[in-house]
Subunit: 281 residues, 2 copies
């Protein structure tokens, strides 16, 4: 059976790198929002072939199950406001793993290019003279939109979408509130639970209607997915009820069918499909 | 071998729907930017199980290869400015296919929730009383960012990203140019080739520097991927050289290594992996 390596310099999976192998390559891989069906084929292969996987805390167990027996799984995240490994430490571990010659996957939730501090890790690899590539992943806003059954853009309503974060290095992130408050504006707010009250205040101050629709998608695509919805003014209350990571869609209400049946949760199926195939390989 | 159906009401793949089967379900599936390694596991399965696949013209042949022999592949797209099947006709075909009881995949390039006119097709299914779900896909901006080796967001630079279109129902799309012209702003411009001169004019009029970096990613992730880059004022010339679909990243220059080696093209590998496995199944 053909099983081409996704790592440029790597041996076939399961084999140790040859003695002559150059130092390892790092693949930055997007793990998607959580459901293994939303992992890409490339990501599944990269995880399967990796010797070392440095992963965020939020990467789901079902996704990590693609790793082969014997691969080193190292958690380096970073969830919300809890204990966190400093970014410099993550960078150092990444460099050390690649220098050791392994096939290294740096596995990030969602898409590594969106709120993933990717540039900082790339800079560390560059400084060490190490090779890297990026495999994009499905970002939470795409999964959240699918879960509420709504397009993020619509002709005659919004010719643009904003992807924003509730927090940046200095605290609550500043945004172009005037543009976000405009009628018809749609924005996906990441890491917005603690910032909800701040965001609502800024939007209303800049002219947004307190009645505009908002949707909160907790654990988008995962088994514990929960959709709640209401008016902008209710957002702080809606987010307070969330335990897991939440994606907030400003300006969008769920499709009416989402509340009435199981549309809300992707519930695609159980997911033994590729895992089984890989174990047979 | 386990091969769970991704369609709720469907029989096992390859079997005709039972006589008692209710009318079909439509899965809106994101085909991603083109490279089959960027297809999700769920999308690969949905395409494999479908009886009927209505697909955009831009969906790559390698992705359509996942369809099983005997599936009906119907092109209903819609490329740039060429001949197009009217949206009403697409809606009608979708409804007819689902009413006939088949497992129907509506396969859209990228992510169906971003510039895919998804709400219009959902409204047609709702009016006909038909069930649907959405499987998100990798949108072009994620693939383009990966190809130029840059994060779309960066602490201290931009706490938000704009996803905008060059065209809407009325012609060149209007945007919040003032916000887009701000220093550090990053935007992904879809369908921006013809609108390039208009966009550059608006941005400069609203205070953008003519020297800010832009990257043009043609056929992102595909075998004909090409990255060109320059200053904002050069954007119209850069896009004129493009034949294929192009994604424009405003405010981002490619990572220096992208120009110097094969970083630019994902070139993940050949991709017989899952296709082979499916054929063995």
């Amino acid at each position: 059976m053909s099983f081409f390596s996704i790592f440029k310099r790597a041996a076939r999976p399961g084999q140790a790198p040859a003695a002559s192998a150059p130092v390892g390559e790092v693949l930055f891989v997007g793990a998607g929002p959580g459901h293994p069906d939303l992992l890409t084929l490339g990501a599944a292969r990269a995880i399967r072939e990796a010797d070392v996987i440095l992963h965020d805390r939020l990467v789901s167990p079902e996704v990590l199950d693609f790793a082969r027996p014997g691969a080193a799984l190292i958690e380096v995240g970073k969830t919300g406001f809890g204990e966190a490994i400093p970014q410099e430490e993550i960078n150092a571990r990444l460099v050390a793993a690649a220098r050791a010659g392994g096939r290294v996957v740096r596995l990030k939730g969602g898409d590594p290019c969106i709120f993933g501090r990717l540039d900082e890790e790339i800079a560390a690899l560059d400084a060490a003279g190490l090779a890297w590539r990026i495999l994009p992943g499905i970002t939470a806003s795409s999964a959240a939109a699918a879960s509420i059954g709504r397009s993020l853009t619509r002709r005659e309503r919004n010719a643009g979408l904003r992807i924003i974060t509730g927090h940046d290095a200095r605290g609550f992130a500043d945004q172009d509130w005037r543009a976000l408050a405009a009628p018809g504006a749609v924005a996906a707010l990441y890491m917005g639970k603690r910032a909800a009250r701040f965001v609502v205040g800024r939007l209303i101050m800049h002219g947004a209607s307190a009645d505009q629709p908002v949707s909160v998608i907790e654990n988008a695509s995962g088994p514990a997915e929960r959709v709640s919805a209401g008016r902008l003014a209710e957002l702080p209350a809606l987010t307070q009820a969330c335990d897991g990571p939440a994606l907030i869609l400003l300006g969008l209400a769920p499709h009416p069918r989402v509340a009435s049946d199981d549309q809300a949760n992707l519930a695609l199926s159980d997911f033994p499909f590729l895992t089984d195939l890989l174990q047979e390989a």
